[in-house]
């Protein structure tokens, strides 16, 4: 039994029909050069992608460049998405993250913010919650920030430096003056705790 997208291959679907498709069913259409399917894919993930790029590169213009590059690379590479490797959202954001890290490396300067809690910034600059999906994302962001904030700071710090700062474990060890094994151990402990304590309520 093929996917829904496979059943409708060759048939032009209207936007409303495309919007009802799950991400996993949209991607094969994107791979077949369906610009309308890509549009739906973009609308679902552009906000999260731009927010992540902005968090890493710290500049609206550079975040825009990174996000555009990432989406175009997905379009042009014909979406080599592999469902076995996780959700479309996670795959997309992984591409955005890597491009953003490349961008800060190209600039030669990396200055990751170390505070996990951006709530204050959010309150200072309230962006309009235009859609239900956006409101949901903000709620999820609050929950996950709470989860990360509850980690011991030595664990959240190494996760933050690696994921958002693009630093290697050896660079982090040097920066924080700790053995390599300790850095890796803290990364593992931190991820275990996020998974065990918060993943069920936030992710399931």
């Amino acid at each position: 039994m093929g996917s829904l997208a496979e059943h409708v291959a060759g048939v032009t679907m209207n936007t409303e029909a495309l919007q009802r498709l799950a991400d996993e069913d949209l991607m094969p259409l994107v791979a077949r050069n369906d610009a309308a399917a890509f549009e739906v894919f973009y609308d679902r993930h552009a906000g999260a992608a731009y927010s992540l790029a902005h968090r890493i590169v710290g500049d609206p213009g550079a975040a825009e460049d990174v996000t555009q590059e990432a989406f175009l690379s997905i379009w042009r590479s014909k979406a080599r998405y592999d469902a076995a490797r996780g959700s479309v959202r996670a795959w997309t954001l992984g591409i955005v993250r890597n491009r953003a890290i490349d961008a800060i490396r190209r600039q030669g300067g990396r200055a990751p913010k170390l505070d996990l809690d951006d709530e204050a910034a959010l309150e200072r600059k309230p962006a309009p919650e235009r859609t239900e999906a956006e409101a949901l994302r903000r709620e999820t962001a609050r929950q996950v920030r709470g989860a990360l904030g509850a980690l011991p700071s030595d664990q959240s710090q190494v996760i933050e430096l690696a994921y958002f700062g693009g630093f290697s474990h050896s660079e982090i060890a040097k920066m924080l003056g700790m053995p390599l094994g300790t850095v890796k151990g803290r990364m593992r402990l931190g991820l275990e705790k996020i998974r065990a304590r918060f993943a069920e309520e936030v992710l399931e």
Binding site: W75, R97, A162
Partner: protein, 230 residues
């Protein structure tokens, strides 16, 4: 995979998932991961903890113009892909051995009094065109390698850009005056840059201008480079 084989990699999984292993270490870990069921199980368990990290950042709506620019490019590329293969623009007289082409091109340059004409062919499928720099870009050089209806522009010695600027390529078709926006790019250190161009099947000229970040729909500055294709 026994426990002894697994132990040296015990702590690498989380660092690898966070992109924090150096290249050789990451490669060694990936080879281990392929054959280690224990690591694969741990990976499946821990993956959602990494996947959720992007959700922790402040959610900011992307600038609306980004949607228009990106989807405009995507729709144009989809239209081109859905068209039957366009008749390839070919200059049959170029299909001669390289030295002969060079001599011919040199003659053409003198005869036409222009620099930046076709200088050679890289392969049966490719054609290479040299771009001419304008006064504002003295010292810059670029070659456009065209294969079918797409091409790659390799430029060097480009003038500096401000942080809020990009270079943008433009395409003018044969018999038209309108310029179509194409790839937006920034040079690496040293001024080397590469741009990817599509929709060159009817192109007469490719140009490069300096534009505000994100690119423009119409050129806002004078061309820095011009490559004549027909």
């Amino acid at each position: 995979m026994n426990a002894q084989d697994h132990r040296p990699f015990e702590d690498d999984l989380a660092a690898w998932m966070l992109g924090a292993l150096d290249e050789p270490e990451a490669e060694a870990f990936e080879r281990h991961l392929d054959g280690c069921e224990r690591c694969q199980t741990d990976l499946r368990w821990l993956r959602p903890a990494v996947d959720v990290l992007p959700a922790s950042v402040t959610q900011i709506p992307p600038p609306p113009r980004m949607r228009g620019q990106l989807l405009g490019t995507v729709r144009a590329e989809a239209r081109r892909a859905s068209r039957p293969q366009a008749a390839r623009r070919r200059l049959p007289w170029l299909r001669v051995p390289r030295p002969a082409v060079a001599a011919l091109a040199a003659t053409a340059l003198v005869a036409a009094g222009v620099a930046g004409y076709t200088l050679g062919v890289g392969s049966e499928e490719e054609e290479t065109f040299t771009a001419e720099p304008s006064k504002e870009a003295t010292g810059a050089s670029a070659e456009l390698v065209v294969d079918g209806d797409s091409g790659t522009l390799h430029a060097s010695g480009l003038p500096p850009l401000r942080r809020d600027q990009v270079f943008q390529a433009w395409i003018r078709n044969v018999g038209e005056t309108e310029l179509r926006p194409s790839d937006v790019f920034r040079p690496a250190q040293g001024g080397e840059a590469t741009a990817s161009l599509d929709g060159l099947e009817d192109a007469a000229q490719v140009m490069v201008t300096r534009e505000p970040r994100g690119g423009s729909t119409q050129p806002t500055t004078r061309p820095l480079l011009r490559a004549k294709l027909s």
